[in-house]
């Protein structure tokens, strides 16, 4: 799909834009039905969205969502459904926090600590995903089932490990890992007019996006992933070892999933505690779907999700239940899946027609010589 003509660009945008418009309409109907004014709601969201603080928070949320989406998308490309990004990043963040917050590490130079922390997170994420990969390759267990169960295991194992690692958080009944000291933190960027800072690791997200794009479109490995996703039987006949690809892509997906908690851990909370954000893995699935596994598409989708989430907080003030945003997000995902399939079918038909036209085959054959 490397052909960039106005038509293909338009087709590519038609589905997500159509889904957005449709979702907005559904939300408007719901708002009217429940006695709220859609116009006021939009007004409240725009006002909130213009605040620098909301923008920074949106960008930070988007960074998390994007990393999560890339992790999910690696699997999607091969028709693997890694539902376990959630468990993978939570295990990774917890153990990486334990590593980075350990007392012995305070004397290690900052850059090495940070790189080490990120490595630990990636390895833990990959290992947690690796369990599902091995189950699938060796025993044929569906990765959907095993990753969902691993999410539950991660929750309880995480609580147990947190109790072992935790120190009480001053002034609350929260508990968390020992805070990472200054050398192990990654400072954020200032944003004019906002006290919150943009995560330093936003750069990591961009880097991950670029590497993801490069590997998938420019390397042999990426070709094998794509081929397996498009037609497993054709990939096998061409010499791809599907089991090996399943293993590698699950490990990669888990490794990227391990990064999901890093911007938060190293950039703002500096500790894994009971209130560390959960559920990012599931948002990643939605963002990957909306962004069609495309590196730029997912970036836009992650930003949209971030803005919606952060603007939602201001809705309660305006007297509109902020759950309307969750409804909108749900409708977007549902309608975008339908819209993509419609566009895909149209695209195939259109291309067949085009080929037919260019080869002069759709012309009505000469009706000569009909036996009389």
């Amino acid at each position: 799909m490397s052909r960039l003509t106005p038509r293909t660009v338009l087709l590519g945008l038609a589905a997500p834009l159509g889904a957005l418009v449709f979702a907005a309409l559904v939300c408007a109907v719901i708002l009217i039905a429940t006695g709220h004014s859609p116009a006021d709601t939009v007004q409240a969201m725009i006002t909130s969205g213009k605040r620098p603080r909301t923008l920074v928070n949106s960008l930070n949320s988007a960074t998390n969502y994007y990393l999560s989406a890339v992790a999910v998308a690696i699997g999607f490309r091969m028709n693997l459904f890694n539902i376990g990004v959630d468990g993978q990043y939570r295990m990774a963040a917890l153990l990486a926090a334990g590593f980075a917050g350990a007392t012995w590490i305070d004397s290690v130079p900052g850059p090495i600590r940070i790189i080490g922390t990120i490595m630990v997170a990636m390895i833990v994420g990959a290992a947690w995903a690796g369990i599902a990969a091995i189950l699938k390759v060796a025993r044929g267990v569906s990765e959907v089932i095993s990753t969902i169960m691993l999410n539950a295991i991660a929750t309880y194992l995480g609580q147990y490990l947190l109790l072992k690692l935790a120190v009480p958080v001053a002034g609350s009944n929260n508990i968390g890992t020992r805070p990472i000291t200054e050398g192990g933190q990654i400072p954020g960027f200032d944003w004019p007019g906002s006290t919150s800072k943009v995560y330093g690791l936003v750069i990591l997200a961009v880097l991950v996006g670029v590497v993801y794009w490069f590997v998938l479109t420019r390397t042999r490995f990426g070709f094998d992933i794509k081929a397996t996703g498009m037609s497993e039987s054709a990939a096998v006949a061409s010499g791809v070892s599907v089991k090996r690809m399943v293993l590698y892509s699950m490990l990669l997906s888990g490794g990227i999933a391990g990064l999901v908690g890093m911007p938060q851990l190293l950039g703002s909370s500096h500790s894994y505690s009971l209130d560390f954000p959960a559920g990012l893995g599931f948002i990643g699935i939605a963002v990957a779907l909306l962004g069609r596994n495309h590196p730029a598409g997912m970036a836009l989708a992650a930003l949209l999700w971030g803005v919606l989430d952060n603007a939602a907080n201001s809705l309660d003030v305006a007297g509109v239940p902020k759950e309307i945003v969750a409804i909108m997000q749900g409708v977007i995902v549902l309608s975008v899946v339908v819209a993509y399939e419609l566009v895909r079918r149209y695209r195939v038909r259109y291309e067949q027609q085009k080929v037919g036209r260019e080869l002069g085959m759709t012309r009505v054959p000469a009706a000569a010589g009909v036996g009389a």
């Binding site: 990426g222 070709f223 061409s238 291309e351 036996g371």
Partner: protein
């Protein structure tokens, strides 16, 4: 039409049928009149529009223009159910039977005879017996379909249609899956059906068969009816030329290029399925450089398993495969491809192509580790595109560009592209499963040419085909596979399709392999 009969005697009349499809040849102004109580053959090349036409008659497609008249009444079918109500039944090329049900259960499926809340199997069984006896179909309603042979399954399909009250039968390429002896039996059945006053529309591109069974023949070329003839008036050759619009290619090898250098050797290959069935049983052969080994057999006798084992997609339970003397039994598919094994798979859509990827990406498929499509671990997009363009030019693949998705091409052009790709990179062995299946005559001739040329350059070829003429004409050596075993070796220079057909069904087991 060539009939002088008064209009009322036509069982089916198609007038001015036109159907437009994106990208493929549709029907244009098709006119056919089928006399009641006759076998009417519709002949044409693959892709000429025969199947579309029959789908229109069976209500699966609606024509853009034109009219259908059944027994003198204008009809307008919205679904096959409408067609069935009008007395039209269709026997599909691929059987639609549930293996684990009995004949009786298969036949009543979808039109179950009710007796209160239960099913009245007794009445159904009686009706099936009646139909079976009166048309000489010889089908036992209580046998499991799984136990039936191909010919019997086809008779069950016919019975299914008759059970639903069809008086007009459409048979879509009914002989494609049959060996010559079964074809004769089928034709016997058709004559009985005709004698009972039924009308049969017989779709085929096998002309000898058409000439022997049909009363009228309509030739379709490029979506339109080009002529209507009676079997007595034409020869098979003339009919073929009407069909193609030009002279025909013949599958034949000129002088032998077989050397004494063994390239691909199989020794005692045995494949066992998960449920313990031997699908390949002690298969041994040697293919030399410059030799084409043809494997004849009724589909499903182990050909697919043999090919997959040779390509490393399936692991044998016993036996070895050697390539140029080296044991490759445990080598992965990719290593085998790198060692020079090329593979034209039987099902190009499932195994040969990434349908929604561009042609140049399909050029990379199967060559993921070899230049010019890759450079080290990276894809060489420019190299792959240039070589895809070369294949398109050299193999006459009709496509507007190498950037279109493979699915946009016609089957014949897809196949030519696959052949071109597999011939790339100087292969030493070509495993070709049905290399010309579903391609038009021109493409068939071109593919044969390419195989002949590569053979002259010392390529060893294993060819599997359902087209006996192709097998006999293109093979240096010919083996027959039956129930997973190579049961006999025949000389392609002297064997006739009839003899080969006997060997394929196990009727001529005399020439056991030494």
């Amino acid at each position: 039409m060539s009939t002088d009969d008064p209009p009322g005697t036509h069982a089916v009349e198609l007038a001015g049928i036109t159907k437009r499809f994106p990208g493929v040849i549709a029907n244009a102004d098709v006119n056919i009149a089928v006399r009641a109580g006759t076998v009417h053959a519709i002949v044409g090349e693959n892709g000429a529009g025969k199947s579309t036409l029959m789908k229109i008659l069976y209500g699966m497609q609606r024509p853009d223009e034109g009219t259908i008249t059944v027994d003198g009444t204008r009809v307008d079918f919205h679904s096959p159910a409408d067609a069935i109500r009008a007395g039209i039944g269709m026997v599909h090329q691929h059987f639609m039977l549930a293996d684990n049900l009995t004949v009786l259960e298969n036949v009543v499926l979808g039109s179950e005879p009710r007796a209160g809340v239960g099913l009245d199997f007794r009445a159904a069984r009686k009706k099936i017996r009646e139909i079976s006896t009166s048309y000489g179909l010889d089908v036992d309603p209580d046998r499991l379909v799984d136990d039936l042979g191909v010919g019997e399954r086809q008779r069950v399909e016919i019975l299914k249609v008759l059970y639903r009250g069809a008086r007009i039968l459409i048979l879509d390429e009914p002989t494609a899956v049959l060996v010559p002896q079964e074809v004769d039996e089928l034709f016997g059945n058709l004559r009985e059906l005709k004698a009972e006053g039924l009308t049969i529309l017989f779709i085929s591109h096998k002309l000898d068969e058409v000439l022997s069974v049909a009363d009228d023949i309509t030739v379709i070329r490029r979506g339109t009816t080009v002529s209507s003839v009676r079997p007595g008036e034409v020869t098979a050759r003339q009919l073929a030329e009407l069909m193609v619009g030009s002279a025909l290619p013949v599958p034949e090898l000129r002088e032998s290029t077989v050397t004494d250098e063994p390239v691909l050797q199989a020794d005692g290959l045995t494949v066992v399925t998960a449920d313990g069935r031997k699908v390949l049983d002690d298969v041994s052969f040697t293919i030399h450089a410059g030799e084409v080994l043809g494997i004849a057999g009724v589909e499903g006798n182990g050909q697919a398993e043999l090919v997959e084992t040779l390509m490393g997609i399936r692991a044998p339970a016993a036996g070895t495969v050697r390539l140029k003397g080296e044991d490759i039994t445990r080598l992965s598919t990719r290593r085998r491809r790198e060692a020079g094994m090329a593979y034209i798979p039987e099902d190009r859509h499932r195994q040969g192509l990434l349908l929604e990827a561009s042609l140049w990406e399909n050029r990379v498929l199967g060559h993921q580790t070899r230049p010019p499509s890759v450079r080290g671990p990276l894809l060489d997009r420019r190299g792959a595109k240039a070589d895809a363009q070369r294949i398109v030019d050299e193999y006459d693949v009709r496509t507007p560009s190498i950037d279109v998705a493979a699915t946009a091409l016609s089957g014949g052009n897809q196949q030519k592209f696959i052949v071109g790709r597999e011939m790339t990179g100087n292969p030493v062995v070509l495993i070709a499963s049905h290399p010309t299946r579903g391609v038009d005559v021109g493409a068939q001739a071109a593919i044969w040419d390419h195989i002949r040329r590569a053979r002259a350059e010392h390529l060893a070829v294993l060819m599997i085909s359902a087209d006996l003429d192709e097998l006999i004409g293109m093979s240096d050596t010919l083996a027959v596979i039956l129930r997973g075993r190579l049961v006999s070796w025949v000389d392609p220079k002297s064997v006739t399709p009839q003899e080969l057909g006997s060997a394929m069904t196990g009727a001529g087991d005399s020439e056991e392999v030494a």
